[in-house]
């Protein structure tokens, strides 16, 4: 079975952001400024588990700059069997649809992929659109917010998953191939292993370009993007006031608090 896990290198969860002259910068004084998108870790773990159980390949795929190789190395160190970087100046500034076009083309180029896994969203853009857009571009079934894989039957070509929705859980049976986006309830991602770290640092990660994927100009990158990042500004800081409610009893404090919340139309 061939499984692909798509990952994005994002700012670390502890990064400190600043905006200057319309551009956003970030750094992390305690560690690396960029990491594997935390939601993707669950997808990577699942790809490795499927590979361990059913054999075949667990291929990590990332679209980004040369720096994204770091994220791909983490995937290899965790246990992915292969990693591919998609990098081309023409892809820079892509919105989610442009990204989806490129990822779909790369997945199609790999041939015989049965499952493409994603984290439910990336912590930077936070849209959660890319997995579904990739599914549409490939013509595969999208299974979003997956919290459990109940059965995977490569012979029958079916998969049964559990989806975590606001109202509860839903069990879905779909025919392969599928695109899956996962939530953190799915599994417990492993750490990179020491042997994996060594393997990852010695691995050659191939780079695929627009030419390799036959992506026509104007269908990805900044020119095709509906999102404009050319001028980023910081949100104005919120004015907040702290009010300590004082009263003789807790009950009285609670009564005043409820009245104040009504007044402010919070409840």
């Amino acid at each position: 079975m061939k499984v692909v896990v798509c990952t994005k290198q994002t700012p670390s969860t502890t990064a400190v952001f600043s905006v200057e002259n319309g551009h956003v910068n970030w750094e992390d004084p305690g560690g690396k400024p960029n990491v594997v998108n935390p939601w993707d870790e669950y997808a990577i773990e699942q790809a490795i588990q499927i590979q361990e159980e059913h054999g075949g390949d667990a291929i990590a795929l990332s679209m980004g700059t040369e720096e994204s190789k770091e994220a791909l190395k983490t995937c290899l160190a965790m246990g992915c069997t292969e990693a591919i970087l998609i990098a081309d100046e023409a892809f820079q500034g892509s919105d989610t649809l442009g990204t989806a076009r490129v990822l779909a083309a790369a997945i199609a180029k790999m041939e015989d992929v049965q499952i493409a896994l994603f984290g439910k969203q990336a912590i930077d853009g936070d849209t959660g659109q890319t997995p579904v857009q990739v599914a549409v571009k490939l013509g595969w079934t999208p299974l979003t917010f997956v919290s459990g894989i109940k059965e995977l039957n490569p012979d029958e070509g079916t998969i049964t998953v559990e989806r975590l929705l606001p109202g509860g859980k839903e069990t879905v049976i779909a025919k392969l191939p599928v695109v899956i986006s996962v939530v953190k309830e799915l599994n417990d991602p492993r750490y990179p292993s020491f042997m994996g770290i060594r393997k990852a640092n010695r691995a050659t990660i191939p780079t695929w370009t627009a030419a390799d994927l036959a992506i026509e100009s104007g269908t990805a990158g900044a020119s095709a993007s509906k999102v404009d990042w050319s001028n980023v500004s910081e949100l104005p800081p919120r004015d907040t006031e702290v009010e300590i409610i004082e009263a003789d009893t807790v009950q009285e404090q609670a009564r005043i608090l409820v009245d104040r919340l009504f007044e402010e139309k919070v409840i």
Partner: protein, 405 residues
Amino acid sequence: MLDFSLTDEQISAAEMVREFAEKEVYPTIGEYDRKQEMNPAVLPRMGELGILGINIPVRYGGQGFDYVTLGLVCEELERVDSTLRVVMSVHMGLNSMGLLQWGTEEQKHHFLAPQARGEKIAAFGLTEPGAGSDVAALRSTARRDGDDYIINGEKMWISLATKADHILWFAKTDPDAEPAHKSITAFMVEADMPGVTSGDIHGKLGVRAGSTGWVNCKDVRVPAFNRIGHEGEGFKIAMSCLDNGRYTVGSGATGLIRASLEASIKYAQERETFGEPIAQHQLIQQKLAYMQQWYDAARLLYLRAGWMKNEGIRNTRETSVAKWYATDMSFQAAHEAVQVHGAYGYSDEYDVERFLRNSRGAIIYEGTSEIHQLMQAGYALGWRRDKPLRCELPAYDPEYWQAEA
């Protein structure tokens, strides 16, 4: 040419260990510290993840990383809690690396490989109720009896006393020998051998989430196969084990300085007095500046020792100065960190209280600061020179280390 850079492999390995310590140990460390118990998941997880065999060659069950990585790992572990690094000091520095240096090929396969895989936990039995810095005064005995030795004696202040399967035990084969240290011999005592008993000590100032205790041998029959090195070679073995144990203590204490610095930077920017964050006050800044200086110097000292180990250069003096400096300064840094935190630093609500208690022990164990001062003075005066050993710690050879066999 000097090169201060670390390899991607070294950095990634340290990051992995940091993630483990932060995610799996930190959340409950306060609770276990207060209970004076070791988190039962720690040793199995460190074994599973390969941390217990990080710098042992793959052919002996290890992960094949170098000695510098061991130092980085210890720094990350002690940044979260000293008890984690203590595991590395006794299991790896004082026992496994002793086997790597002095064990026969058969002993490496029999004892070292299961230790490196984390299947067996290792400890170091040198200190006795009446013998600490004065090693030659130890009273444990080992009497030859056919193909075996009969061991009697008691060891005290032994880290992992009740958790260890293999204890590197130092005993005298001739209690009347002169000079006394020349009859010390090393044995691998196995905890399940009849006559071995152990217990934990409670009421310690620090490292409360770890196991420290006593081990007693009463007429314990140990096969001659378990003797490490020759008869009478035990003192040299103990000292070379300390060259490695002290390296883990020094690099770990460097992590404790970093932890104190990080906690102080965070608190100094949050806590306000006189209408501004205390980081604005120059005397607080001075404390942060010193902690940074201590951290940088301690790190450079241990990395130098690690580099020398990689190169196969004798490093007794350099390791000693790294251990002495880092442990003294980790106590100082924790003390200043408590001061930065004010009254809150005095309660276990904040980590710095634990840092201060944990830092104190390392100024005593694996050579008190006074012993290290005597050593440094001895080298400076030319009274002390390191003679070549029959078995030296092997230099790090990536090809040999990483090959399956």
